[in-house]
Amino acid sequence: MPTSTTTPTRSLMKRIGQTWGWPALFILPCFMGLGIFTYIPVLMSLGLSFSYWNLLGQPQWVGFSNYSAVLQDPVFWKTLQNTVMFVLGTVSLDVTMALLLALLLNRAIRGIGVFRTIFFLPVITPMVSVALVWGWLYDPNYGWLNAILQLFGVEPIAWLYDKQWALGAIILLQVWKGMGYNMVILLAGLQGIPTHIYESAELDGANGWQQFWRLTLPMLSPTLFFVVTVSLINAFQAFDAVYLLTEGGPENSTQVLVYWLFKNAFQFYKIGPASAMAYILFMIILTLTVIQWQMRKRWVLHEADD
């Protein structure tokens, strides 16, 4: 037992030290990592977005010309259009599928854990191996997908090699890979809904459909809000599937913002325009998130009055 001979101030300091000292020390390495690899680069790229730099010489201040060059580039607009299509496609499909799966898997039957694991597996599978396997599935000559479709009399589709289909193929892959994560979160949300509400609804004569629309969805809305917001942000940052499978082709039909940004920075060595694009993307995501945050009052339960 510590002796109580210390002065009140010292004991207060000691208590702060006890509460914060060790924890602070332990999170210091993490903060150093974040600082060096996230916050400092984020600030530097803001500066670089107003500069000309090819990585080899010294950066030169060029004002807003990177931003105007990016905004005048037709490829950028094409890329933005693709990105919006990609975001709409993945978020809507992903959330719907995840919700459907969560509803199906939210029951106490034997072996439910196995099913939950199966649908979660793609989330923890590295994108490199997913892309490799899907690249084969999508192969126009040997791919299973075409083989299956052919059974139903569908003409072979060139998937990744056809500009009409390529973006859709990437969306499909991304949804398959990502829906497990949202499913788990929605499942947690579903399990947070007290069962007695359903019991009383049943007593009042509500059928399954009514229970879903009037109870489940509203009670799940905070979780749905989180899922939609996070999926949207992630979808805007899509990169790896495009990098691994199509490199933006054919004919720029899968060129998305982050991949185009990467190409500008590390293939064309145009760090300035690439940084400008990063900040434009940041503004887009910020704006959309703020709008969603405002809109939540309209549709998220218990949020209207704060």
């Binding site: 020390l25 090819n54 080899l56 690249g135 192969d139 000559n141 060139a158 090699y161 590390f266 145009k270």
Partner: protein
């Protein structure tokens, strides 16, 4: 916080005695601080063990096989020069990105392996040292005449040589003898023409049209431009004028050549379309016996030697109106302008370019050695392919490939413009005339 308390509670329960718990936490804290400090100190004073040696940092890309040859050479060199340590950095993927970032971070390697298609931007930014004086020194270990002149030309920027070529990288036509013989088509001669090639491709494709798997006459690659430039050069066209001031592909010769190339796919159907290729590569199709002719470089030899189950050989690229002209690019060694040890770096490069070292590299089959004596030795000429000498014979007609500083962006624009041409949905003339102003701007901004 709640879970933290829970863990603490459980730990306390396990430890039973409060005093012992105290001792335990104190001990744990002391150990973690010690570890943290050790980590900081170690990371501070790492890599200072070879203080007495001169360390040369050397970056390269390449396959595992190439790497193992180079590693052996490095060991040999260090044995001969105990005062020098070579720090070999191998980046198998995205090499030039990484090199750029090393340079941006002030960590330019003393010796960098570069390619003639990628070094313009470094020469333009004064990253490497001109090597003429080393090469022209009378008593030096390596002389200009040891090497193929076109390879040196590929590394010449404003009359200065910026890298010592390791290889001469040019293109030939690989062909599947068995497919030719089955269709009773005469094998490609040393003087065959583009018309001969088209005829052969048509006959072979037609002969095998009844078989289950489609067989294609000739390979098709839309990227990089170096793969289709032989068609342009051999028919008298070119990408740019000499000083990179004008985009020349819109001239009738260039348009005609690119249209001919696209027609191989879309008009004559002797080259596979994007859909027919799918996720396969041209060399996979060739090795599966589904491709009669394939335009490729020396790098295909090792894999064909070990895996092709049919008779194959090589022929020069077929002649067009201007002859048979393929590009000569090269990979080689450059010295950083900021290195502390230029003499030592040069001595290492000279060692890598010695007959012995070049022989070791040539034996892998991957490269056409830049050193003339090794190129004419058995190490390189061994069969298959029976006509290995073709690689050397065509050097004098080759076109040392120079590219402008913003080549990567130009190649991107060009690739994008030509995609519909290669898909058969637009003519070469339309596409080239449309992209011409954009490329002209990129040339003028360089």
């Amino acid at each position: 916080m709640r879970s933290f308390d829970l863990i603490r509670y459980n730990l306390q329960r396990i430890c039973l005695h409060r005093s012992r718990w105290r001792l335990l936490t104190a001990g744990f804290q002391a150990i973690s601080v010690a570890l943290l400090l050790c980590g900081l100190i170690l990371s501070g004073c790492q890599s200072d063990n070879s203080h007495s040696k001169k360390t040369l940092r050397f970056t390269m890309w390449g396959s595992a096989e190439e790497l193992s040859v180079v590693k052996r050479l490095v060991l040999d060199y260090e044995r001969l020069h105990p005062e020098i340590h070579i720090e070999l950095m191998h980046f198998p993927e995205n090499y030039f990105q990484k090199l750029h970032i090393l340079i941006a971070g002030g960590l330019t390697p003393d010796i960098a392996f570069v390619n003639s298609l990628s070094y313009a931007v470094y020469a333009d930014n004064d990253i490497f040292m001109p090597l003429n004086s080393f090469l022209e020194s009378k008593r030096g270990p390596l002389k200009r005449s040891d090497l193929f002149e076109p390879a040196l030309k590929a590394f010449t920027w404003k009359q200065q040589i910026y890298a010592i070529p390791r290889d001469v990288s040019n293109l030939v036509v690989y062909y599947n003898k068995t497919l030719f013989q089955q269709a009773h088509v005469p094998l490609p001669s040393q003087h065959w023409t583009l018309t001969d090639m088209l005829n052969a491709a048509q006959k072979i494709t037609a002969f095998h049209s009844s078989t289950q798997h489609k067989i294609f006459g000739i390979s098709f690659a839309s990227q990089p431009p170096l793969m289709w430039l032989p068609y342009v050069w051999s028919q008298g066209g070119d990408l740019f004028d000499k000083g990179f001031t004008r985009f020349r592909l819109t001239e009738p010769s260039g348009i005609k050549a690119l249209q001919f190339y696209a027609d191989l796919r879309n008009r004559w159907h002797v080259a596979p379309t994007r859909k027919e290729v799918g996720s396969a590569s041209m060399s996979q199709l060739f090795m599966q016996g589904k491709l009669a002719m394939m335009v490729s470089g020396r790098w295909s030899v090792p894999v064909f030697r070990s895996q092709a189950k049919f008779d194959w050989d090589i022929a020069p690229f077929p002649k067009g109106s201007a002859g048979s002209i393929v590009g000569i690019d090269s990979s080689g060694y450059a010295i950083s302008k900021t290195t502390r040890f230029p003499q030592e770096a040069w001595s290492f490069i000279a060692f890598l370019s010695s007959t012995k070292a070049q022989t070791a590299l040539a034996e892998s089959g991957l490269i056409v050695p830049a050193r003339q004596d090794v190129a004419h030795s058995q190490a390189f000429l061994q069969s298959p392919p029976q006509h290995s000498k073709t690689f050397i014979d065509i050097i004098e007609y080759g076109n040392p490939t120079h590219v402008p500083v913003r080549w990567n962006e130009i190649a991107e624009e060009l690739g994008l413009a030509l995609e519909p041409v290669f898909e058969g949905t637009r003519t070469a003339e339309e596409a080239l005339k449309k992209v011409q102003p954009k490329i002209q701007i990129l040339l003028e901004e360089s």
